[in-house]
C-alpha cells in the first residue's frame, strides 16, 4: 500500500474534482462537501506518506509498471513529502474559509481540486516531462480560479497570468526538449547521471539549464519576472488569493529546487559557478527590489504580493547556496512562508469584509474593530519579519547560517538587511492597526463592504477566523517540527548534497 501512496495522491483529487461537475445535475451546492471529503482523504494519505518517508526513507513508484527509466517514475523523499503534506493541509484548511467567503459554484470546487492535483503531482513526480504536465495543470487551474472573481480586473489579471505563465512553462518545456535531445531520457535520476557523463560544459546542457530555470523563475515570481503576480494575487477572490499565494509559487520553488538538486545536481552548480552566482544574484536583487516595491504600495494585498517576491528571493538564495544548512533553511522558509502568507491573505479578507478597509491608510485603528483578524495579522506579520520564536525566524536563521558557513558575506549582508526591510513594511501595518486613529468609521463602509449573501449571515464566519488563528498558531507551532524535518531532509537528500 505504501508504494501506491504517491500515485493515490494524484488520483484522489482528480477523481474528486470530476464529481462536483456531475453532481451539479442534482444540486449546485454539493461542491463543498465533496471537496471536504476528498481533501480529508488526501490529507490522511499525505500524512501517512510523510510519516512513511520520515521513518522508512525515500519511496519510489513506477506508474503503470513500465520499466524505469522508460516509464514515468514517482519519487517521494523528505522534501517532496513535506511539500505534499503542506499542499494537503493548506487546501483542507482553506475549505473552512471558502465555505463563507469563496465562490460557491460547483465549478469552483472542481478547479480547486484540479489545482490540488497539479500541485501534488508536481511534488511527487520524478520525471521532467511529467513535471511539465503537472505544471500546466496547476497553471490552468490557477488561471481559472483567478478569473472566478466578479470584477473585470480579475479577468484581466487572469489573462496576464495566463499569457506570461504559459510562456514561462513553454520555456521550461523547451529546456526539457534540449535535455531529451542530448541524453535521450526524461527520468530525473537517470538524467543526473547522463548529464554528468556528457559533461557540464556542453552547450546543450547549459542552454537547457537556462531555459528550465528561467521558465520556473517566472512561476516562482522572482524580480524582474514577477509582473503577473501582484495583479493575480490582488484581484482574485479572497479564498483564491490565500490559496495560490500559499501554494502555487511555493510548489514552483520546490520544482526549481528539484531541478537544481535532482537533475543538474550540486556538482553542476560547483562546475559552472556562473550558474550559481547568477541565481544567488537574482535572489538578492529580488529580496531588495521586492521589499522596496512592497514599501511603496498603498494596497495591503499588493504589498503582501510584493513581499512574496522578496521572500522567494530568500528561499532561492538558500537553495542556490546549496549547503545542507542552507537547504534546510530554504525548505523551512518555503513551508513557513506558505503558512504565513496564506494566513496573511486570509486575514486581509476578514478585515476587508468586516470593515471595508483594504489600503494601508484604511487599516488605521482596525485593531479594535476586528480584534481576532488584526491580532492574527500582526502575529503573522511579526513571524514573517523573523521575530523569534516564529517559524520565519528559524528559516532565515538557517539560511543566514548556511551563508555564513559558506562565507558568502555579501549574501549575509543582504539576508540580514532583508529582515530590516521586511520590518519596514510590516511594522507600518501593525502600527496602523493598533496605534493610529481610524480613517474609516463604523457604518460609513456599508456601501464598500462585500455584499452579504444569503440574507442575515455575517460576512465573516467562525471558520474564516479559525483559518487566520490557525495560521498564526501554526506559524509558531511549526517550529516544533523543524528538528524532524531537518533529520528527514539530511537523511533523504545526502546524495544530492554530498559535496
Amino acid at each position: 500500500m505504501i508504494e501506491q501512496l504517491p500515485v493515490l495522491l494524484v488520483v484522489v483529487p482528480i477523481v474528486g474534482g470530476a464529481v462536483p461537475l456531475v453532481a451539479s445535475l442534482v444540486s449546485n451546492r454539493s461542491g463543498w462537501p465533496i471537496a471536504a471529503l476528498t481533501l480529508a482523504v488526501h490529507t490522511a494519505l499525505a500524512g501517512w506518506l510523510a510519516w512513511a518517508v520520515g521513518t522508512g526513507g525515500t519511496i519510489d513508484y513506477a506508474v503503470g509498471g513500465f520499466a524505469i527509466p522508460y516509464g514515468i517514475e514517482l519519487v517521494v523523499d523528505g522534501l517532496s513529502a513535506a511539500v505534499v503534506a503542506l499542499v494537503s493541509a493548506v487546501a483542507l484548511g482553506l475549505l473552512a474559509y471558502a465555505r463563507r467567503a469563496g465562490p460557491r459554484s460547483n465549478a469552483f470546487y472542481s478547479q480547486y481540486l484540479l489545482l490540488v492535483t497539479g500541485l501534488s503531482g508536481m511534488a511527487v513526480t520524478g520525471d521532467v516531462f511529467n513535471l511539465y504536465v503537472f505544471l500546466e495543470i496547476t497553471g490552468l487551474a490557477a488561471y481559472g480560479l483567478v478569473a472566478s472573481g466578479r470584477e473585470a480586473s480579475s479577468a484581466v489579471a487572469a489573462l496576464k497570468y495566463l499569457i506570461i505563465g504559459t510562456v514561462g512553462a513553454s520555456l521550461y518545456l523547451l529546456g526539457v526538449g534540449y535535455l531529451l535531445a542530448v541524453t535521450g531520457t526524461l527520468n530525473m535520476g537517470d538524467l543526473a547521471g547522463k548529464i554528468a557523463a556528457i559533461g557540464y560544459g556542453s552547450p546543450l546542457v547549459l542552454t537547457a539549464f537556462a531555459l528550465m530555470v528561467g521558465g520556473l523563475t517566472v512561476k516562482v515570481a522572482l524580480f524582474p519576472l514577477h509582473t503577473w503576480q501582484p495583479d493575480a494575487y490582488a484581484n482574485a477572490p479572497d479564498t483564491v488569493s490565500a490559496f495560490i499565494s500559499a501554494l502555487v509559487s511555493t510548489v514552483a520553488a520546490y520544482a526549481l529546487a528539484r531541478v537544481l538538486f535532482s537533475v543538474f545536481t550540486v556538482d553542476f552548480l560547483t562546475a559552472v559557478p556562473v550558474a550559481r552566482w547568477t541565481l544567488v544574484g537574482l535572489a538578492c536583487v529580488s529580496i531588495v527590489a521586492g521589499s522596496a516595491l512592497a514599501v511603496s504600495q498603498s494596497s495591503v494585498q499588493r504589498m503582501l504580493a510584493y513581499s512574496s517576491v522578496s521572500q522567494f528571493g530568500l528561499v532561492v538564495a538558500g537553495f542556490a547556496i546549496a549547503t545542507p544548512t542552507a537547504v534546510v533553511g530554504a525548505t523551512v522558509h518555503l513551508l513557513g512562508h506558505a503558512v504565513m502568507k496564506g494566513g496573511l491573505f486570509a486575514a486581509t479578507g476578514v478585515i476587508e469584509r468586516e470593515t471595508g478597509a483594504s489600503t494601508v491608510n484604511g487599516y488605521a485603528g482596525m485593531g479594535g474593530r476586528v480584534p481576532v483578524g488584526a491580532m492574527g495579522f500582526s502575529v503573522l506579520a511579526l513571524a514573517m519579519v523573523g521575530v523569534p520564536p516564529a517559524i520565519g525566524f528559524v528559516g532565515k536563521w538557517y539560511i543566514v547560517l548556511g551563508a555564513v558557513r559558506a562565507q558568502i558575506w555579501p549574501v549575509v549582508v543582504v539576508l540580514l538587511a532583508s529582515t530590516l526591510l521586511t520590518l519596514a513594511y510590516f511594522a507600518k501595518l501593525v502600527e496602523r492597526l493598533y496605534f493610529a486613529e481610524p480613517t474609516i468609521y463604523e457604518g460609513e463602509d456599508d456601501a464598500g463592504a462585500a455584499p452579504v449573501a444569503d440574507g442575515g449571515d455575517s460576512p465573516v464566519s467562525t471558520g474564516m477566523l479559525a483559518v487566520v488563528v490557525g495560521a498564526a498558531v501554526l506559524a509558531v507551532a511549526l517550529v516544533a517540527a523543524v528538528p524532524a524535518l531537518e533529520q528527514t531532509l539530511l537523511e533523504t537528500l545526502p546524495p544530492l548534497l554530498d559535496q
Binding site: W228, V412, E431
Partner: protein, 591 residues
C-alpha cells in the same frame, strides 16, 4: 538539581505579564509587584552553575546560567521591578501598559540569565520589541520616537547577531566560554551593536529621544533595563576589558553630563544622565580588572536605584503639575516636601556625595581607573590618569546639572497655586528606594557582599578599596564645590540657551531621506525603464503600421495616454519582453 533551577525566571515573569493584562487592575498590580519581589530571594539562593541545558535549532544552549554577575543583575531587577509596578499602580497606569512593562522585565531576566550567546541575543531582541510596545502604548509623540527607537535597536541587534554568528563560526559553539567574543571583526561588531544599547557617543540619541515621551511609569521601567543589560552584555563580550571601550566610557561620562546641563525637559535631562552614568560602568568594564569590574557592577546596582528614584520624582512632578519643563516650574519644595527630599537623596547619590550609594560605587570605578589603567596622554602633571580626569570631570557636570534641576524645580521662586504631594503608593515606592540609596551609602559592606569580586580582599583586587578615607571624602566634596561654582558661573548663559542639537538632528533626516531616496530610486528607475521600453515599442509599431498618421501627428502636439497612469504595472507585452531578455542574458552568461 534544585527545584529553584527547574524554571527560568523569564517564563514565570512572562506568564505573570499575561495574567496582569487580563486580571482586574488591583489584583493585577498586586500580582505584578509580588512576582518580581520573589526574584530577590530566588536570586540570592539559586545555586551557581549552568542549568537547563538543551539543544535548540540543533545548537547547544543554556536557558539558566547563574554566576555572581547574573545573580547581582537578577537581584536588582527584582527589587526595582516590584517598586516600579507599585509606582505604576499609584500613577494610574493601565493594566496593559504594566503587562507590556512586565514582559520587558521578563525578557531582561531572560537575557541576564542566559548561558549562551544564542539565548542572549534571543532575549536581547525581544527586549527591544517589548520596550517598543511599552513606548507605543502611550500613543501621540511616543509613536514616532518608538519607531526611531525600534529602528536603531534593530540595527544594533543585527550587528550583534552578525558578531555572534562569526563567533560561532570561529569557536564552534554558542556557549559562554568565559573568554568573551572572538577578537577581530566579531569583537568590533559586538562593541558597536552593544554600544547602541549602552549609548555610545553618536549611538545614544535614542535615549533622550525616547525616554521622555511615554507614560511617567513607563519611563521608570525604561531607564533601568535596556542600558544595564547592555553593560552586562558588554562584560560578557569583553571580560578582559578593552582600552578603546574604557575611553569611550570616560567620554560618555563627560558628554552625557554636558548635554544634560543644556536640557530643560526634566526627563530629557535625566536621560542624558543615563548615558553619563553608564559611561562610568562602561569605563569599568573596559578597564577589565577585578577592581574595575566590581566597581562597574556596583555602579549598575546603585545607578538602577537612584535613577529609578529620579524618574519617579520627576514623574510625580509631572503627575501633579502636568508640566515637563524646568523653566515653567519652581518653588515646589514647599508644596511637595516628600518628593523634594526623595529628589535630594537621589541627586546626592547620582552626583556621588559622601554618605550616599553613588559615592561608593563611583569611587571604586575611579580607583580602578587610577590604579589599574595606563596613564594616557593627559595627566595634567599629577599622578591621576587621563581616564580618571574624564570621570572626575563627568562628576562635576553631574553636580552642576542636578543643582540646576533641583534649583529650578524645587527651590527657585514660588509656585503659583497649590499642588498636592505624591500620593501614598508613590510615596511608599520613593521612600523605599531612597532608604536603600542612603543605606548602601552608609553601610558599604552590604553592597560589597553582593559584588562579583570582593574589593576588600588583597588576594582578589590590585588595590584594596576603602570607602571612607580622607582623600575620597575631600574628592567628593571638591566635586560638589566645583559643581556649585560651575552652576553659578554658567547659570545666566545656560538659561538663555535654546535647544542644543544632538547627533540625531543629523542622522534622522539622513536616514529618512536616504530610505525615501532608495525607494524612489528603485521604483522610479523601474518605471522609467518601463515607460521608455513601452513608448519605444509603441512608437515603432505605430510608425510602421500608420506612417501617414504619424506624419500628421508630428504637426500636432503630443497627447496624454491613459495606459501610463500606473507606471509600476508592467503590461503583458513588457513582461514577456523582460522574460525573453532575461533568458537570453542567462544563456549568454552561461555559454
Amino acid at each position: 538539581m534544585s527545584t529553584l533551577t527547574l524554571v527560568p525566571p523569564v517564563v514565570v515573569v512572562l506568564a505573570t505579564a499575561i495574567l496582569v493584562g487580563i486580571l482586574p487592575r488591583k489584583p493585577a498590580h498586586a500580582l505584578g509587584a509580588l512576582v518580581p519581589a520573589l526574584a530577590v530571594p530566588w536570586s540570592l539562593s539559586v545555586p551557581a552553575g549552568t542549568h537547563l541545558q538543551t539543544t535548540f535549532l540543533g545548537f547547544q544552549v543554556a536557558f539558566l546560567n547563574v554566576d555572581e554577575f547574573s545573580r547581582l543583575m537578577g537581584l536588582i531587577f527584582g527589587i526595582i521591578g516590584t517598586v516600579a509596578v507599585l509606582y505604576s499602580y499609584a500613577s494610574d497606569a493601565e493594566n496593559v501598559q504594566t503587562a507590556f512593562a512586565l514582559s520587558y522585565v521578563g525578557t531582561s531576566f531572560g537575557a541576564v540569565f542566559a548561558g549562551d550567546w544564542l539565548t542572549l541575543i534571543f532575549f536581547w531582541e525581544l527586549m527591544a520589541v517589548t520596550s517598543t510596545l511599552l513606548v507605543w502604548h502611550y500613543r501621540g509623540a511616543a509613536v514616532r520616537a518608538g519607531f526611531r527607537y525600534a529602528l536603531l535597536h534593530g540595527i544594533g541587534g543585527t550587528l550583534l547577531m552578525a558578531a555572534i554568528l562569526q563567533h560561532y563560526v570561529a569557536q564552534g559553539t554558542f556557549m559562554f566560554t568565559g573568554d568573551g567574543i572572538t577578537a577581530g571583526l566579531p569583537a568590533a561588531l559586538a562593541a558597536v551593536g552593544i554600544g547602541v544599547n549602552v549609548g555610545f557617543i553618536g549611538l545614544h540619541a535614542w535615549l533622550p529621544d525616547t525616554y521622555p515621551r511615554p507614560h511617567i511609569a513607563a519611563s521608570v521601567f525604561l531607564c533601568v533595563f535596556t542600558t544595564k543589560t547592555g553593560v552586562y552584555g558588554m562584560y560578557r563580550a569583553f571580560p578582559e576589558g578593552n582600552v578603546a571601550i574604557a575611553y569611550m566610557g570616560g567620554g560618555m561620562a563627560v558628554f552625557g553630563a554636558m548635554f544634560a546641563l543644556f536640557q530643560n525637559d526634566m526627563r530629557r535631562l535625566l536621560s542624558y544622565h543615563i548615558q553619563s552614568q553608564v559611561g562610568y560602568m562602561v569605563a569599568g568594564v573596559g578597564i577589565g580588572t577585578t577592581l574595575a569590574q566590581a566597581g562597574a557592577f556596583a555602579h549598575v546596582y546603585n545607578h538602577i536605584l537612584y535613577k529609578a528614584l529620579l524618574f519617579m520624582t520627576a514623574g510625580v512632578v509631572i503627575y501633579r503639575t502636568g508640566n515637563e519643563n524646568l523653566k515653567k516650574l519652581g518653588g515646589l519644595a514647599r508644596e511637595m516636601p516628600i518628593t523634594a527630599v526623595a529628589f535630594t537623596v537621589a541627586a546626592l547619590s547620582i552626583a556621588g556625595f559622601p554618605g550616599f550609594n553613588g559615592f561608593v560605587s563611583k569611587g571604586i570605578v575611579i580607583a580602578g581607573a587610577h590604579y589599574d589603567f595606563a596613564a594616557g596622554p593627559l595627566t595634567l602633571g599629577t599622578d591621576r590618569t587621563t581616564l580618571e580626569w574624564l570621570l572626575l570631570l563627568g562628576g562635576v557636570g553631574t553636580f552642576m546639572s542636578f543643582i540646576k534641576f533641583g534649583y529650578y524645580a524645587f527651590f527657585h521662586g514660588e509656585y503659583d497655586g497649590s499642588v498636592k504631594d505624591a500620593n501614598r503608593g508613590q510615596t511608599v515606592a520613593m521612600v523605599a528606594v531612597a532608604v536603600l540609596c542612603v543605606g548602601y551609602g552608609l553601610l558599604p559592606g552590604t553592597l560589597f557582599s553582593i559584588l562579583p569580586f570582593d574589593v576588600t580582599s588583597e588576594s582578589v583586587v590590585s588595590h584594596v578599596y576603602k570607602t571612607y578615607t580622607v582623600g575620597h571624602i575631600v574628592e567628593g566634596l571638591a566635586l560638589a564645590v566645583a559643581g556649585l561654582v560651575g552652576f553659578y558661573a554658567t547659570k545666566k548663559p545656560l538659561s538663555k540657551l535654546g535647544r542644543v542639537p544632538d547627533v540625531d538632528a543629523l542622522y534622522n533626516p539622513v536616514a529618512f531621506y536616504g530610505m525615501r531616496a532608495l525607494v524612489y530610486a528603485t521604483t522610479d528607475l523601474y518605471a522609467a525603464v518601463d515607460r521608455a521600453v513601452i513608448r519605444a515599442t509603441s512608437v515603432t509599431t505605430h510608425v510602421v503600421s500608420e506612417p501617414n498618421e504619424v506624419v500628421r501627428r508630428l504637426r500636432a502636439s503630443a497627447q496624454d495616454d491613459d495606459s501610463f497612469a500606473y507606471p509600476l504595472r508592467a503590461g503583458i507585452g513588457f513582461s514577456i519582453l523582460v522574460l525573453a531578455v532575461f533568458v537570453a542574458l542567462a544563456m549568454l552568461a552561461l555559454s
